[in-house]
Symmetry: C2
Subunit: 192 residues, 2 copies
Amino acid sequence: MSTSKPQLRADAARNRQRTLEATRVLLADPGAVITVEAIARQAEVSAATVVRTFGGKEALIDAAASGLLAPLVRRARDLLSGMPPEEALRAFLGEMLVFQAAHHTMNTQIEALSLPATEAEEAALKQVVLDMVVRARDAGAIRTDLDPVVTMTLIGECTYAIARSRAHAPGLAADYLTVLMDGLRPRTPTAR
Amino acid sequence: MSTSKPQLRADAARNRQRTLEATRVLLADPGAVITVEAIARQAEVSAATVVRTFGGKEALIDAAASGLLAPLVRRARDLLSGMPPEEALRAFLGEMLVFQAAHHTMNTQIEALSLPATEAEEAALKQVVLDMVVRARDAGAIRTDLDPVVTMTLIGECTYAIARSRAHAPGLAADYLTVLMDGLRPRTPTAR
């Protein structure tokens, strides 16, 4: 009896991990409809276990989706603290394109759900891109004639659009970053 | 009796016009589900008239959607024949943003349908933007280090993304065009 409790805790932790991992796999699958049954099948656990482990489908998807975004937020902050802000912006957008291309239907899959942890990570992601923009402006590395929030929004919208259409045109992602970063450069009299 | 045939033809032409116009209104309405019944209600004709006039819902939507795109194609060609290609490109994208913002759910509404006339207009639209890009390159007005088809694709994807999100950030459309056109400029040694 004294050994059953740690064993139960180990089982619960393993089921939690498998369920989370299964949900992340489904979030990267454009054809997946994310139901408790689909998660249970993918995780090879029972539907009851899926519900019990996280207390419901939304809480589970929130944990999985926010768990996918959290490393991106940390990565963006690390880049920003380790190199000039405009280089951090370019490097991060390149990585963001790869992530979004691999998860290009995730937004549609989760749009109707209430996911507070995921929304918090999305807000943190916008904030760190805004920080990159503001610091690059302050450093004189990008143009100062555009509103930083508008710049952050247009970067986000265009990056997402290019990520979703990457497969259609090889070279699109790299050329997009080139045009975007050149378009964001400070205006010089000779370039005008 | 001798007057009934012109009358019938006039009725048919009027019904055709009302049905087309109703379909165009629904294509600009994000909340609309485009059914024969919805078109009939909007046009104030019977569902049987809607079907009879165009021989089916897809043929009707194809006529309405291609009829919306055809003036854009003509406009793009007119701009290109009347001014330098990079100015034509910027002017046309500005007008395209307005059109797409007003019809930002049209793609979703029609994506599952087979619409040959609409697809032909979409192809013509891509071709004229490609012509603008190629002629602006030849004129030395935009950079030559990017593949023209990739450039056309990234312009199209980003313009569509910005058009759909216009409402969220005032100034986004104008700033987008500024960043895009500056990003497309020929590279000069001083700008590098």
